[in-house]
Amino acid sequence: MKEISPGSPEFAEVKARFERLMDAASEDVVIREKLTEDSFRQFCATILTRVAEQMGYIIHNATEFVRDMKWAASEGWRQGVTKARENRLRPRA
């Protein structure tokens, strides 16, 4: 296939699909970050609750103290996706 350049008739179509793919990949990265952090927090909650109990403490609402309120409100995640899209169009520093 020949090189696609702005003069190519299919440039607009290729550009649109390319940008959609990059946006989707950025969203996948942001979601993976969230899943990774949520998982780590959950892991910590389980360990801390168990160890605290062995030491004679009862931890109440373990899942509450591990929740990052930013993520819990979903705004942080949405902002992350929006920021990823903005970064797509911003030149690398």
């Binding site: 996948d28 990265v29 952090e37 801390l48 103290f65 920021k83 970064n87």
Partner: protein, 282 residues
């Protein structure tokens, strides 16, 4: 141009500090020495976690080893493997500890179904044995193979014998997306052509409909990806993390090292996009 968000790895030290702060605030009875002890225990538990364990199932040649490299090792020229001695060796297939760019991974490389009835039965017994030992299993078929009946049957049997929790670890993915007709991958942009996109959509629709009868598909459906073109690798990695047990998923985040698709995009194409995205001059 960035065009793709860079994955931010966990800042564990900061996270642990903030968790301990929140814990003490909500549980003021915990003394300072006890809080220190709690934190040390937590850090010990983190350090002694077994590496993430993943099974790749598929016929020879579908790209299982390449997939391990492009997801966990993309900066290293060769994969460093050694026999795994900490887990039982499967009857067939290969088990190895893999040292990727960011950390260790335990990989079960297992043969796929559909070549012979007798070996299929033997391989099925292996899946039944291995599935409870892994965090995630990725079942790979290669585009444009549409023979999913053996996979359907195996998943149905595994669900009946092992239960939903084990089967829900399975991610089905289609490798070699760039090899779909009419073989005219767009150079420069490094994306499928419009015709390839349409054929991929049709292909994925066909196999998804059948796989969905036996397995709940991940968000985004079955991923068609390419190791050679680094196409849709972030989607596949996301589905792997989604499928892992909730308290183990973070380990995949730690060792993931997904090959960067941007390295295969022609800088001139990126310049064209940049220029086309600028507002028109007055």
């Amino acid at each position: 141009m960035r065009y793709l968000t860079d994955f931010r790895r966990l800042n564990m030290a900061d996270l642990i500090a903030s968790l301990m702060g929140a814990l003490r605030k909500q549980n003021p009875a915990i003394t300072a020495p006890d809080a220190d002890k709690l934190q040390r225990q937590l850090e010990n538990e983190i350090a002694k976690q077994q590496p993430p364990t993943i099974a790749f199932i598929g016929l020879t040649g579908v790209g299982k080893t390449s997939t391990v490299n492009t997801l966990f090792n993309h900066d290293l020229p060769v994969s460093h493997t050694r026999p795994c001695t900490t887990l039982p060796t499967p009857v067939s297939g290969e088990l190895y500890e893999f040292t990727g760019a960011k950390g260790d991974l335990i990989v079960y490389d297992m043969p796929g179904l559909g070549e012979d009835e007798d070996t299929d039965e033997k391989y099925y017994a292996m899946y039944r044995d291995i599935l409870p030992r892994v965090d995630v299993a990725v079942w790979v078929i290669n585009v444009p193979n549409r023979q999913v009946a053996p996979i359907q049957q195996a998943i149905r049997r595994l669900r009946a014998e092992l239960g939903d929790a084990q089967v829900n670890k399975i991610v089905v993915a289609a490798s070699m997306a760039d090899r779909i007709e009419p073989y005219n991958w767009v150079p420069g942009a490094n994306i499928p052509s419009k015709e390839q996109d349409e054929h991929l959509e049709d292909y994925l629709s066909s196999i998804s409909e059948r796989i969905a009868k036996v397995l709940t598909l991940r968000s985004g459906g079955i991923v068609a990806y390419s190791n050679t073109k680094r196409y849709q690798l972030e989607r596949l990695m996301r589905q792997i993390v989604e499928s892992a047990p909730p308290e183990r998923a973070w380990l995949f985040g730690e060792v993931a090292d997904v090959a960067d698709v941007r390295e295969l995009i022609d800088p001139r194409f990126l310049q064209y996009i940049e220029q086309a995205s600028l507002p028109p001059r007055r």
